[in-house]
Symmetry: C2
Amino acid sequence: MRNIKLTIAYDGTNYKGWQLQKNGRTLQGELEKAIERAFGKKCRLYGSGRTDSGVHAKGQIAHFKTAGKLPVKKIPIVLTSLLPQDIQVVRAEEVPFDFHSQFDAKTKHYEYRIFCRKTRDPFIERYAYRWAYKLNLSLMKKEIAALIGEHDFKSFQAADKSARGSVRKIYSARVTKRKQFIIIDIVGNGFLYNMVRNITGTLIEIGRGYFPPGSMKKILKMKDRTTAGPTVPAKGLFLVEVKY
Amino acid sequence: MRNIKLTIAYDGTNYKGWQLQKNGRTLQGELEKAIERAFGKKCRLYGSGRTDSGVHAKGQIAHFKTAGKLPVKKIPIVLTSLLPQDIQVVRAEEVPFDFHSQFDAKTKHYEYRIFCRKTRDPFIERYAYRWAYKLNLSLMKKEIAALIGEHDFKSFQAADKSARGSVRKIYSARVTKRKQFIIIDIVGNGFLYNMVRNITGTLIEIGRGYFPPGSMKKILKMKDRTTAGPTVPAKGLFLVEVKY
């Protein structure tokens, strides 16, 4: 038996999220089917975490155990060839038998893309949230810094409660402008359900002047979801990297 | 009554091409529905030409006649808001009553994108044809020049015959490399069915060394479809611009 770690990229638009479901195509489901075809045996694939319906990934991590003989170097090309065109197995590595993609994850990096334009672009629409109005970029840059460090992120957590509580450590949080996009990059030791999307919604409220300067810090302290901004759409969110 | 000219961009992946069909979503169908909702009355939309299932457009042109009062400046935003997210009405102009988007078209510019990489990229897969092997770029650049001028393009025409015959004039034809892409740009006074896709397939056969140098000129002279390369997939093709 080998333990295989996969790095996976996907366009999440046409999936009901990562996790296996009774109804609807999921990323885990498609990947498990491809693994079964490649290795001749059903096996469970464990992801570093779920991504929601419509969320994309450049570097999702997952692992599975197999007695199959396929050389590790060939796994990415074989699995990708068995997968729909919106999923790619970027890398495969053999890892120690006790490696676990979820429990061993040290940091995750998420990116949220805001497309700053009045009009739709059909080639970008799937991969960013379009915002047609003015945003105060330098204020957003300042405000996001309040997230860095260990905090209780209850204000940015969706109704679902996490078994691990709502304290997380954020290592870096940045707002940058690239061409017509405002990109929000956040690296942390873990994220609550909808956390990045709620933070982004709050940053937009600040950037457009609806929430006053200093709001990010205040909202964090309130530990109350109703004080934060709205949840922005899934389509702008990318899981960029998971580190171990 | 006004005659309205529209410039339209679309991601063609999820459509059965431009032209109205009994079964299946088409671009003309979606646009006519949006026009009916915006102007309160069914009307026929005439495109500059069909694009096939899966072909994209940055600047498709179409026109329709309406007695509706919606100011021309508001048409793009109103129609776009009534359209699926993969279609955008980029511009609207009032044009002389006898303007016809198909019959008055002087030149069309098509672009074909080849993505030169061994491995799939799920974010590019919809918008380019991936080619994993070596291509001789400088040879492709030379060979494509044979197309410039007025020629009988029968060798590059799909089985369907055009009522206008198979002579067309090509004003410019270029192969360029941009990052990991090889881009083929062709501007002409008209194109036969599958012509750009068959030219690209032929260029790839030349670039990979399967057809010898000089083939483009020879194939053109043969006026025989079986001498040319294969038809490359629709997903790499973009209608860039139509000029009048």
